[in-house]
Symmetry: C3
Subunit: 342 residues, 3 copies
Amino acid sequence: MFPKNCWYVAAWDHEVRRLHPMRRILLGAPVVLYRASDGSPVALEDRCCHRHAQLSRGRVRGDVIECAYHGLRFAPDGACVHIPSQEQIPPSARVRSYPVAEKHHWIWIWPGDPALADEGRIPDFGVMDHPDWTWRGETLQVAGNAMLAIENLMDLSHLPALHRTTLADTAIPDNDIPVEYRVEDDTIRVDRWALDTPVPPYFRLLAGFAPDARVDRWMNTIFTPPAFVRIDIGAAEAGSGAREGDRSKAVTTWNLNAVTPETESRSHYFWAQAQDFAGDDPSLSELDFALVHTAFEEDLAVIAGQQENLDLDPAAPRLNLAADRAGIQARRMIERMARAEG
Amino acid sequence: MFPKNCWYVAAWDHEVRRLHPMRRILLGAPVVLYRASDGSPVALEDRCCHRHAQLSRGRVRGDVIECAYHGLRFAPDGACVHIPSQEQIPPSARVRSYPVAEKHHWIWIWPGDPALADEGRIPDFGVMDHPDWTWRGETLQVAGNAMLAIENLMDLSHLPALHRTTLADTAIPDNDIPVEYRVEDDTIRVDRWALDTPVPPYFRLLAGFAPDARVDRWMNTIFTPPAFVRIDIGAAEAGSGAREGDRSKAVTTWNLNAVTPETESRSHYFWAQAQDFAGDDPSLSELDFALVHTAFEEDLAVIAGQQENLDLDPAAPRLNLAADRAGIQARRMIERMARAEG
Amino acid sequence: MFPKNCWYVAAWDHEVRRLHPMRRILLGAPVVLYRASDGSPVALEDRCCHRHAQLSRGRVRGDVIECAYHGLRFAPDGACVHIPSQEQIPPSARVRSYPVAEKHHWIWIWPGDPALADEGRIPDFGVMDHPDWTWRGETLQVAGNAMLAIENLMDLSHLPALHRTTLADTAIPDNDIPVEYRVEDDTIRVDRWALDTPVPPYFRLLAGFAPDARVDRWMNTIFTPPAFVRIDIGAAEAGSGAREGDRSKAVTTWNLNAVTPETESRSHYFWAQAQDFAGDDPSLSELDFALVHTAFEEDLAVIAGQQENLDLDPAAPRLNLAADRAGIQARRMIERMARAEG
């Protein structure tokens, strides 16, 4: 269901190590991740072209990975460069090498046509690189199709119900305010602004607003296909011009998400929480991460339940609500991309 | 294979609680069971019509159940009565509501056409309601197709072999006595009477017959499709007229069984053991239950093994014996009902 | 994929016991193994012809096995000889009986046409019967198709890579010496001789060669379809004529292997290690067994990984190397046999 000619997150940078090759199933295919001697990440098919052994069981020697079974060695471009039992290396002796990039603390992989891979198309998660921001992230395993996780992120109407003891007060319900949807340059944007409102506990706790403060608040979602959701969440002194772009009296936390299909019924979920207000107090960043982590555990339980129901009846109909507009758009965009690849 | 326009047991009455909705897969469909504020049982599709979340993960509020994911609320009739993110409730916003009944300590569900549901068609397990009877029951999970469990119950010829250390002495083997089969009003009846015989240990133990007593004994099975087997088991002073209907010198224990398909390879099994002789000594009822429970564990192990073999070769032929007459009739009756539904 | 008109190993002799019938899935079919009162092995379909119960759950009485469910008894030829609930035994009341043989400490089974079973076709593993040899064996479970295990055994080029800390020094790499392949009487033979070489640690350790000794060494593999690999491994004083057949100055260890498919993705693996030099010191036999056992654990991990990759993409291409010649021949021989059976 997912397109292949696009970047996906394969791992956090710290998960990919020089001498400990890691197996990960990505879009149904086995991939081995390691780092070459210069530290650059390598992503190869985790299936030796000879007898299908998992290269990830082998050793990294210099830039190459050596199959544990017969000792064939493969260079980062996938070419076999050594066969212990014979001198001649057949031209077909190679495994698939995936275009790979390291950016914004993630290792990115391009599972489609390598000729089309362009690092310029990696979505911007630059707040994780910015010195004024603090952040923390993790990898979660989702027992459900990746689309279920993406729909979850595109739909903030579930916050008051599912996360009522965790994130509910960060929500800005659709029916309270005019929500602005727009599609720009192949991204979907959903802006929610609530002006001159009481400060919610989440921001009192994290950003030290006075209990009786009035704030302008926002939750602005940016979806970039096929699998990236960034949510700009913040509060500013009421009337200080945040909506017009002046964030001098504002605090912002970005919720950053990348979902990568593992199989039709499982996904890898990479996410981080970044703050512009926690620089002098790392415990605030930890607290923000912990709040969202707890909420995401609630999401994962629901998604696993959805997948169980899908497995019982894959064709059960779904009722769309007004709040699903962005999620439906995201699904269509993903399906259109996949269809265009044929 | 099983028909849908009929009642099945979904749960014991005590399993269905007011504020703790319970998920159960019944005939391949996810069902959530809870009680409305007046205590009446509710059975809804355990799959929100919106995004397929399991309603059983949510909360019961008054009569309605609220989806944990987005807070949609559903009334006992399956209609959505609240959507937090929008005012308008589309007419198609509903989940399936199953006709449900509470009778004889069981919660009954009608998985077929609701217009045909008629509580009058619930089979009679009234001994569990009668003040002169004591009983105890439980829910067991069967790792096998429901038909395997029904055949097991319809076939008393397995008692001497499988239950030789537990229930063997309650058996009245087919080849020792004339067995009377008859089909009455869509039920199958199999009567076994052994007259003027030594009292078996089972009844000496439970009902206090003298070791040298002579008794008239019986094991009379009543099958009601699709999945109910009641076995009237007893002993009376020899010649006291039990066979003619005079049970004044008799003790009786009813073995009461309801099997409900979960999937093609798993079943729910609800059963109880009821006695008319244990009123003044509850330990007798406990003992009878324990004896049969131990025997049923033996049955479940055999059934799981049958299912393993079925999974290896679903088309392996079966040899029918004379003692299988009632089981074969039951299977045909069930299949005929299912076929008639198309 | 595997032929049926041939012998396979079903069990070690000590695994098949008189009163403890054992279930084993062989070539996808359930088989129960036990011994008759004269000790002779019996292999029957582990599925009662009546209701598919597993006979292995029952009891052995004299020569017959009694089904735990209804007490039907089956003789070693598969014929039902007793039905508790009726006098008459229908002629179709029988389970499949497999031709079975006990030879070389293994219980052999013929899963195909019994009329073709001929004990003369059991391959020779007679070193396990010879008084001058010591040996030890075991049963391993392989989480992979049997062909993967056979290819593993037919391909000694994996020793230096996979077993570099265990058996690497026993290897004689293809590219160092001329390897002699020949097909004889439906067996594949691969002979490797290295003449006048330093003694490898494996033989110094096991056979007490001096550290500076020069030896003639060999690893000669004999494949007998469908699933038997015997490897003659040894070393002799250099120039003492071992290659010409004089083993008076030689030590030999046989690695003996039989692989039996369980299902398409699992196999039973029976193997032993036999020595002609350990008679006066059993610890040498234990040591040899332990070395190879450790190496086989390495093989099983690789094979399980291959199977995982096969499950992800059964059609992924395979690159054949020169060292695969014997493995490819073995695979073709097996496939040819299976095709010939239609």
